[in-house]
């Protein structure tokens, strides 16, 4: 069965070009970039080139890039460094809708390390109130950590503006850029952002590789301590294949970022409009306008997300859900709940996230199947029969 992959916010296909670039470093070019001999040492050149490609994508200089094992390590490194280098400040400002990589670390710091965490709320569109952000940040704030784009809804926060506010108060600014990098053009040099975390597997390179942008002049304390790799900022022998693949993926993303952005957005809108016009009682979660071009989070009333996913899966369609039943816990999506999405909609919410590898045919196929899937599940549901068929519910 052909797979229709619409779960790119979870992870993405490795670009064939990135895979090709990685292969030599997984086979004959296995040397260590720190070695004195040419066989190993020459890999340092490939690492440097990858660093340049990634720096270009972000609009920064190569020395501002630290390669890490992924988004989570980059988030932890940034947050812990910011706190360690501002020992007199004991407050963290973040949001209720962060990825667990930030959310759970902040909870941990509040619980065990005596930090006060200010949790910013979002409105029903998933947006922040900038006045509230201003109020929360003060001279006591060590760190502001706010994601740039939300992984569940795709909602984009005004990070440049927030970084300015943080800078005015002398607080460091970290942003989890895992979902936005490669999808929307960025020019970090012009911003006051101190740290940005990114992850390779979300932008068509391998899992287990990522990077941290560290603005020049930002106080820094390493997370991994040991050898002298990454200019003494991240110890451990470099993941050379991963780094080279990430470099290639960054180069590919940068090449066509504007065209791909509008092409993917057109596909996403086609999916969105197709579903909304053929399925009743469906609603997009999150701001329509301030959103990643590839993400569609949509809630269906009277049905439960896992059932929808199972039916999609049977057709080879990959998506994900904010429903409790899919998470392993009983709690449905913290993001949708923070937005005040009614429980009835949260349980039936599905996230489709596209990439440049999706086609119009794939989207049309999904659009054609959704009314059948939702229809069959609603026919089975004890709720909403009256609203759906205007027949009476037995009491």
């Amino acid at each position: 069965m052909k797979v229709i992959y619409l779960d790119n916010n979870a992870t993405s296909q490795v670009a064939p070009e990135a895979l090709e670039a990685m292969m030599p470093f997984l086979s004959n070019r296995y040397g260590n970039p720190s070695s004195m001999h040419y066989f190993g040492g020459s890999a340092a050149r490939d690492v440097a080139l990858a660093r340049e490609s990634l720096a270009d994508l972000l609009g920064v200089t190569p020395t501002e890039i630290i390669f890490t094992s992924g988004g989570t390590e980059s988030d932890s490194t940034a947050i812990l460094s910011a706190l360690a280098t501002a020992p007199d400040r004991k407050e963290i400002v973040t949001t209720r809708v962060e990825h667990p990589a930030v959310l759970n670390l902040c909870k941990h710091l509040a619980r065990f390390k005596g930090y006060t965490v200010k949790w910013l709320s979002v409105d029903k569109e998933g947006m922040l109130d900038i006045e509230e952000v201003k109020e929360a940040i003060s001279e006591r704030t060590a760190l502001v950590s706010i994601m740039w784009a939300n992984n569940e809804t795709g909602v984009i926060f005004p990070i440049e503006q927030i970084a300015e506010i943080a800078a005015e108060k002398g607080a460091l600014m970290h942003t989890d850029g895992v979902q936005i990098v490669g999808k929307v053009p960025l020019d970090l040099k012009k911003t006051a952002i101190n740290f940005l975390a990114l992850s390779g597997h979300k932008l068509h390179s391998a899992k287990g590789i990522g990077a941290l942008y560290l603005k020049k002049g930002t106080r820094f304390q390493p997370f991994m301590i040991g050898g002298h790799q990454e200019y003494d900022r991240r110890a451990g022998t470099e993941n050379v294949p991963g780094i080279v693949g990430l470099g290639k993926a960054a180069q590919l993303a940068a090449q066509n970022i504007e065209q791909e952005r509008s092409r993917v957005k057109a596909l996403r809108d086609r999916l969105q409009n197709g579903i909304l016009s053929s399925v009743k009682f469906a609603k997009v979660n999150g701001s329509i306008d301030n959103r990643l071009p590839n993400t569609l989070n949509i809630g269906f009333e009277f049905v439960e997300g896992e059932s929808i996913l199972l039916k999609l899966d049977e057709l080879g369609i990959c998506a994900s859900s904010g429903s409790a039943c899919t998470s392993g816990s009983l709690e449905p999506s913290h993001v949708l709940r923070a937005m005040g999405v009614p429980f009835t909609m949260v349980h039936g919410s599905i996230r489709f996230s596209l990439s440049r590898y999706n086609t119009e045919e794939e989207i049309d196929y999904v659009v054609s199947q959704m009314p059948l899937i939702i229809g069959s599940l609603r026919a089975m549901s004890p709720f909403g029969q009256d609203r759906l068929n205007s027949a009476c519910v037995v009491q």
């Binding site: 439960e304 039943c325 009983l330 349980h347 549901s381």
Partner: protein, 282 residues
């Protein structure tokens, strides 16, 4: 991804007996939209023989909720009302070839709906009226009575198990202390029962003894050891000598003798006062 059995998938993709019955003699409804799953069960019952002639369901929920509902209707058709009431949530899970442990609450929902329908038929108040008893879990609206009953029936001993079976404690987590207290009460009651039983003279065959020892080890001892990264295994029983081996961190633990004494005390208390524990290296 959940590991669903082929039987679960079959009952999800091809659910049996979906729909409602116009002239139902009994209707049982449990769950809500907010909870994430709900089941409405319709029964047609022969007034003479009290046999269930037909059963239909409507379910809102995940794959295993739909499958449990479908399985339930298949299981009860043709049974008398009293035979149907004897079905446990474990029977529903077994019928499906098992459910992931986090999904056991789906089988409990099936049983609850059945009890509600039959109570409705008999003209009794709904037994699992969630307002009956003291509300413990506010997130999912679960009372102490319900937790108690399901915990006893399924021999649940940890909060996690209670959450898997009833959903209680799976939300904000504020009720964990209350659930722990209920579990403590149950444990104390069982212990008292046990001591009254063991004070009476009783003879067990070796097989029965081993089974009972194994049960005590699984329920009472291993969970505690595992909390600290340790573990143990029952190797053999020779007369009154229980041979065990430590695993994990217990192997190098300086307090292993203490642990051994603790295990012996537990086994003496709950199985037979003559038992002694011996550590072997196996």
């Amino acid at each position: 991804m959940w590991e669903y059995t082929e039987k679960v998938k079959d009952h999800f993709f091809n659910p049996r007996n979906v729909g409602s019955l116009e002239d139902a003699d009994a209707i049982g409804e449990v769950g809500s939209l907010a909870c994430g799953d709900a089941l409405k069960l319709f029964l047609k019952i022969d007034p003479e023989t009290k046999r269930i002639l037909d059963a239909r369901f409507q379910t809102f929920g995940c794959g295993s909720a739909v499958a449990s509902s479908s399985a339930l209707t298949e299981m009860i058709k043709g049974k008398t009302v009293d035979e149907a009431l004897a079905i446990t949530n474990q029977d529903i899970a077994d019928y499906l070839g098992g459910l992931p442990k986090q999904k056991m609450h789906c089988s409990v929902m099936g049983k609850d709906a059945l009890e509600a329908a039959i109570a409705c038929y008999k003209g009794e108040p709904a037994p699992k009226d969630h307002l009956d008893g003291e509300l413990v879990c506010e997130c999912f609206g679960v009372t102490d009575k319900h937790i108690r009953e399901i915990a006893l029936q399924n021999r649940l001993t940890t909060i996690e198990e209670v959450t898997n079976f009833t959903k209680a404690g799976g939300g904000c987590g504020l009720c964990h202390d209350k659930i722990e207290r209920i579990l403590d009460e149950i444990r104390d009651e069982l212990k008292q029962k046990q001591t009254t039983v063991s004070s009476a003279p009783r003879e067990m065959t070796n097989i029965q003894k081993i089974a009972r020892i194994q049960e005590v080890i699984e329920k009472e001892i291993r969970p505690t050891l595992q909390k600290d990264g340790g573990d143990m295994e029952l190797i053999d029983l020779e007369g009154a000598k229980v041979k065990i081996a430590f695993r994990g961190i217990c192997l190098s633990c300086p307090s292993a003798p203490l642990t051994k004494a603790g295990i012996e005390a537990k086994l003496k208390e709950l199985v037979h006062p003559d038992l002694v524990v011996e550590e072997v290296s196996a």
